[in-house]
Symmetry: C2
Subunit: 116 residues, 2 copies
DNA sequence: GCTTTATATGCGTGTGTGCGCATATAAGGA
DNA sequence: TCCTTATATGCGCACACACGCATATAAAGC
């Protein structure tokens, strides 16, 4: 039996500001590309530079931002640093947003197809 | 190359940019306050101004941003405009982020308590 | 028509932040 | 020690955007 009311949290303005900051971390395309590249598993900075096509400096900075937000974990091994997704909530989060966007886009395509 | 985890989406850079934009919409404290105020149900702009304590102009602008992102629906009735959450994925999205943040903060509190 | 009420928008400013460039730090090899 | 490789960081610029203020639009009442 599913819940009749999905237990709405009461959130303070401060809590909402924290949530906003978390969303802001996810609001950059390059950071999402890095997270997406890390979906299959741990990668070094160099690998991520190759996979995303970004500059080394930029990739490094974004990785730091993601790690600071507790989304990534850092592991040093010799000359290389390996990053891995440390917050599994990223996966369902992406699923939710993707599903929602697919619906929105289906609506938009309908309007466009209708000549609106 | 077998894929043991077929649940992961393969996303283009364009798709990731769209997802980033969606997160950016959610990355503003005032917009989250508006969404939170709308959790119980439909409200007019004036009510939202009172509830959030923002200026009328600012609230109106943010509501427009949220509506443009397909997160809110608009209904006009006489002099008033009523907004309501039109994308139910907001609720589990908030749950995920809140849960994740609670874990992060528990970790941080631990470190602080340990004198780190 | 004019006035009042509810909502939306144009403009200017300040701030945050992403990016490129160059350079710094760290680790390993000769 | 010096050099190479892998990663991180300081600096400067440019762009996006949130906010406040004033004003514009829209609807209802007189």
């Amino acid at each position: 039996m599913s819940r009749p009311k999905p237990a709405l949290r009461r959130l303070s303005a401060d809590a909402l500001a924290l949530i906003a900051r978390r969303f802001a971390v996810l609001a950059e395309p390059m950071r999402l590309r890095l997270l997406h590249a890390l979906f299959p598993g741990e990668k070094s900075v160099g690998e991520l530079v190759t996979l995303t096509g970004g500059t080394q400096a930029n990739v490094s900075r974004h990785l730091q931002t993601l790690a600071q937000a507790q989304l990534l974990a850092r592991r040093k091994e010799g000359l290389q640093v390996f990053y891995t997704i440390s917050d599994p909530s990223i996966f369902p989060l992406c699923e939710l947003v993707c599903g929602s966007l697919e619906k929105s886009h289906a609506r938009q395509r309908k309007l466009v197809a209708a000549g609106g």
